[in-house]
């Protein structure tokens, strides 16, 4: 009996605290038996916004984050931020994503966060980064478990992204009208990616559009639409 209780005592104390400490993320001192342990600034930020039931920052938390950052939730900088976080889905950050993202951005306070926004916004001026963000947007904006992106979400994203792009693509509105009028289906990933190629490489007069190339059918149809409606611009 005494041996057993000894064991029980042994069992309970050290390993128990170790186990408990291990649950605390990136705690500097695992042997520190302060209870509860002191949180890092990032952890504090996370706790402020996280959903009460899930280990995630969800819609409500996101909205509060935006308020604190003094930024509109529709602002494209949120997209850039999500890209840095490698967020899987729009309007939420997993714990991992949030922590890794802030670590990469070297942000540990709301003030630092706020001041990082302008530089994030200007990243879009870089062609390669813009492309990465653009491509990233597809997987981020689509619904979980779906292969394609819902049309209205896609249109919203395109309008958001193309508003930031320079030089401006003159056919943004026509593209969106065309989709609503003629296509009405979800957008596959390949089409999404290829559209940027089209926007960047084919000039507005369509003089260098080669219909023998492997453009997605939707792009071919759009070119036909422009021609049909007499909307093709002459340079």
């Amino acid at each position: 009996m005494p041996k057993l209780s000894q064991k029980k005592c042994q069992w309970n104390v050290q390993p128990a605290t170790k186990e408990y400490s291990a649950q605390l993320p990136s705690h500097p001192n695992p042997r520190n038996l302060q209870y509860p342990p002191k949180q890092t600034p990032v952890e504090e930020l996370y706790r402020r916004y996280k959903d009460p039931h899930e280990e995630m920052i969800m819609a409500e938390g996101m909205s509060r984050l935006c308020t604190d950052l003094d930024v509109d939730p529709q602002d494209i900088v949120m997209l850039v931020m999500s890209w840095h976080m490698k967020a899987a889905t729009m309007c939420e950050f997993s714990k991992q994503e949030f922590f890794n993202g802030l670590k990469a951005l070297k942000i540990d306070s709301i003030e630092k966060f706020r001041s990082a926004l302008p530089s994030m916004r200007s990243e879009l001026k870089d062609k390669d980064k813009f492309k990465e963000v653009y491509n990233f947007t597809f997987d981020w904006a689509k619904e979980k478990g779906q292969k394609s992106l819902q049309l209205d979400t896609a249109i919203g994203m395109w309008q958001l992204l193309f508003a930031e792009m320079t030089p401006k693509w003159p056919y943004v509105d026509q593209w969106c009208e065309f989709l609503e009028e003629r296509h009405k289906l979800a957008i596959p990933k390949d089409t999404w990616n290829q559209l940027l190629d089209f926007v960047r490489n084919v000039d507005p007069s369509l003089s260098n559009f080669d219909e023998e190339r492997a453009w997605p059918c939707l792009v071919d149809d759009f070119v036909d639409y422009l021609k049909e409606k007499g909307l093709v611009q002459t340079t």
Binding site: P188, T191, E212, A214
Partner: protein, 740 residues
């Protein structure tokens, strides 16, 4: 014996005498030949003069040899030719050459010792050769242009119908050849080239006037004759190597230069000849143009145009006929039958020309094929070409067509249809329509002859490959098996009389897979039929293990007797119609909704059924009110007073679904799979491929069955990307890679 040294002058004077004598002989003086002593004397003199060590006169003698000839030519030969003209000049020319050869021969005999040592020592031409060269340089070169002009003049004279001395011309030509001494350059440059140019001009002039004046057949006859004559001319007095060149020249001037004018002549050209079935003239045209490289192309093009125009006209006729009959049911189908028959006849007609006049030449086969491909694929009255052709076959193979055709004719026609099928681009659509119609023929016993069905499928298989007709063949086999099952069923009933359902029942058991998909709606069967189904099920379960039967009542037929007051009449109706009619055994009058509830059908189906029995030709039921269409608030009464002069009548039920739409949908679906499979197969073997190439190879792979739409291929490629079979190359978005 000690040889005496011979001094030059001494020796030469002796030789000179010999040479002079020789000249006299050549000039025709009497007493002309050399005795052996004379010969020997001359020979030895030369021998001695050349073999003595010093002074050795080999060199001088060699030169003297040449000089003798040259002198003679200058003095005698050349003037004699130059003095004369025309025929006489030619004769002199020929004779002088002959003489020269003789002179050279004799002289080289005399001087032959030189040939032994001196010539090879000094690498000089041998005596004979040297001698002939003298003629060439001193005579030939000087007179050749006159001679040539003269000869050509004679040739033209003969062409115009004059008589000339062919032998003489031949001799002249021979001189030209011989003077070349093995090389044809002289003949070709000096004579042949001029002759060909002149011939070309001659015929060019002729052609220009003939083409305006003569009809196409007449012109061709003239051309043929000219060619024949030129060939003959060449064989008689030109060098053999000239024949081909001359013929080509003449062909060019007469046939090639004016080819289009000739072939397209308004009232007598190719198209007129076809219209008039002028077989001989057409054959002549083929003969003439066949030998010219690419010569048949213009002819074949006109042929193709002719066939295409005639074919298109037939299609237009059919279209017009159909629209004028607008409103009449099945107008399109009737018109279609006529059209296909006419197209087959057109094919026979033009194929006869191809195998006959045009000697089965591949250029014409190709032209015929391309022409037919243009108009065979046109639709008429909204019916696709594939359906028209399938309808034609159905008509041939089913019972009850108005024309009773012999078995032979049916077989022959089917054979021709299969040949025609090669020109259709939507072969898979055709196959699907055939399958649907075959099913109807087999299931409703409308096929005229099982042998025809089988042989037709065999022919299709031979033409289009094993896969093409495999389902249809399965269907035919199924019918045989079904008959066996039915026989067994009847035996079963014989041995188990207690389970007899009280109605004669025959069931056709089909294997799913090769038959088209049939939907069966849940008809509420009348009691009598329910029993039948149960009995058969019992039998079938006893015969097989783990097979499930799905009953397709929509395909069934029922013979029921209507006990009408005037007289009982046997009605041949569909199972659905029978089920409806049997309801009236229990009530005289039923409303639409009552029937609907009792039978458990859809609204549309019931409207169709009731229309067939109350608004069509035979009014078995009386509809209240007696309007033209069936409405949900109508009532129906059994028409006990119905009668007809026949004892047995068939009441048709128009089909449910727009078959055409379904078939097109099914085929489109199959095509998508076929394209997918082709794309995957190509990418699997190529691993990396550019977009254009991929599309091209895909088209090639499927085109024996159908002509794919490029847009569809593009969409399928996109779909395969989404499904992760393919991906775009990161560097070049126009390249695709296979994802393993």
């Amino acid at each position: 014996m000690g040889a005496k040294i011979i001094q030059f002058d001494q020796g030469w004077s002796c030789l000179q005498k010999g040479i002079t004598k020789l000249k006299k002989i050549l000039e025709g003086a009497p007493g002309g030949h050399f005795s052996s002593e004379e010969y020997m004397a001359l020979y030895s003199t030369i021998y001695n003069m050349c073999s003595q060590n010093s002074p050795n006169y080999s060199q001088q003698l060699y030169e003297k040899y040449g000089e003798s000839l040259t002198e003679y030519i200058r003095a005698t030969v050349l003037p004699s030719i130059a003095e004369n003209h025309g025929e006489f000049m030619l004769r002199e020319f020929v004779n002088r050459w002959a003489n020269h050869k003789v002179m050279v021969r004799w002289l080289s005999h005399f001087f032959s010792y030189l040939d032994r040592w001196f010539v090879s020592q000094k690498s000089l031409p041998r005596l004979k050769e040297a001698g002939l060269v003298v003629f060439r340089e001193c005579v030939y070169e000087k007179v050749k242009s006159n001679v040539v002009a003269c000869v050509i003049g004679f040739i033209d004279k003969e062409r115009e119908g004059g008589r000339i001395d062919r032998g003489l011309l031949k001799n002249v030509v021979d001189v030209f050849v011989e003077v070349g001494m093995g090389q044809m350059g002289g003949y070709e440059v000096d004579f042949e080239a001029e002759m060909l140019a002149d011939s070309g001009e001659h015929y060019s002039r002729k052609a220009v006037s003939w083409i305006l004046e003569d009809s196409c057949p007449d012109y061709m006859v003239k051309a043929e004759e000219c060619l024949r004559r030129e060939k003959e001319r060449a064989s008689h007095y030109l060098h053999s190597s000239s024949e081909q060149k001359l013929v080509e020249k003449v062909q060019h001037e007469l046939l090639v230069v004016h080819a289009h004018q000739l072939i397209d002549k308004e009232h007598s050209g190719f198209r007129a000849l076809i219209r008039g079935d002028k077989v001989e003239d057409l054959s002549r045209m083929f003969r003439l143009y066949h030998k010219i490289p690419k010569g048949l192309e213009p002819v074949a093009n006109v042929f193709k145009q002719q066939v295409t125009d005639e074919g298109k006209a037939l299609v237009q006729q059919a279209e017009d006929a159909a629209s004028s009959q607008q409103g009449s049911n099945g107008a399109g189908a009737e018109v279609g039958l006529v059209l296909i028959r006419e197209i087959l006849e057109l094919h026979d007609k033009y194929m006869a020309y191809v195998t006959g006049c045009f000697m089965n030449h591949s250029v014409f086969h190709k032209a015929l094929k391309e022409a037919f491909e243009v108009f065979c694929n046109k639709s008429v009255a909204g019916i696709s070409s594939a359906e028209l052709l399938a309808g034609f076959c159905d008509n041939l193979l089913k019972k009850g067509t108005s024309e009773k055709l012999s078995d032979e004719i049916i077989e022959e026609t089917l054979e021709k249809v299969v040949v025609l099928l090669a020109y259709y681009s939507d072969k898979d659509l055709y196959a699907e329509f055939c399958r649907k119609k075959l099913a109807r023929r087999l299931l409703f016993d409308r096929s005229c002859n099982e042998d025809h069905e089988k042989s037709f499928l065999t022919k299709l298989k031979q033409q289009c490959g094993g896969q093409f007709a495999s389902k249809m063949q399965g269907m035919v086999t199924d019918m045989t098996l079904a008959k066996d099952i039915q026989t067994n069923f009847e035996q079963y009933l014989g041995t188990n009389p207690n389970v007899k359902p009280g109605i004669d029942l025959s069931v056709t058991v089909l294997k799913t897979g090769c038959w088209p998909n049939y939907k069966s709606s849940d008809l509420n069967l009348p009691q009598e039929m329910v029993k039948c189904v149960e009995v058969f099920k019992g039998f079938y379960d006893s015969q097989t293990k783990r097979r499930k039967l799905a009953w397709i009542y929509s395909l069934g037929t029922c013979n029921i007797v209507g006990k009408f007051e005037p007289k009982p009449i046997e009605l041949v109706v569909s199972t659905y119609q029978a089920a409806l009619l049997l309801l009236f055994n229990d009530s005289d009058r039923l409303s639409f909704s009552e029937i609907l509830t009792q039978l458990k059908l859809t609204n549309e189906d019931l409207v169709r059924l009731l229309s067939s029995l109350s608004c069509a030709k035979y009014k078995i039921l009386i509809k209240e009110p007696n309007t033209k269409t069936v409405k949900p608030d109508d009532n129906f009464v059994f028409n006990s007073m119905f009668t007809d002069k026949m004892r047995k009548i068939r009441i048709p039920l128009p089909p449910m679904v727009d078959e055409k739409k379904k078939v097109t949908e099914d085929v489109d679906k199959e095509r998508k799979y076929a394209i997918d499979a082709a794309l995957v197969r190509i990418m699997k073997s190529r691993k990396v491929l550019g977009h254009q190439k991929l599309v091209m190879e895909c088209v090639e792979m499927v085109q024996s069955i159908f002509k794919p739409d490029i847009k569809t291929i593009k969409k399928r490629i996109e779909d395969l990307i989404t499904r992760d079979y393919l991906e775009r190359d990161h560097e070049d978005s126009n390249m695709f890679k296979y994802v393993a």
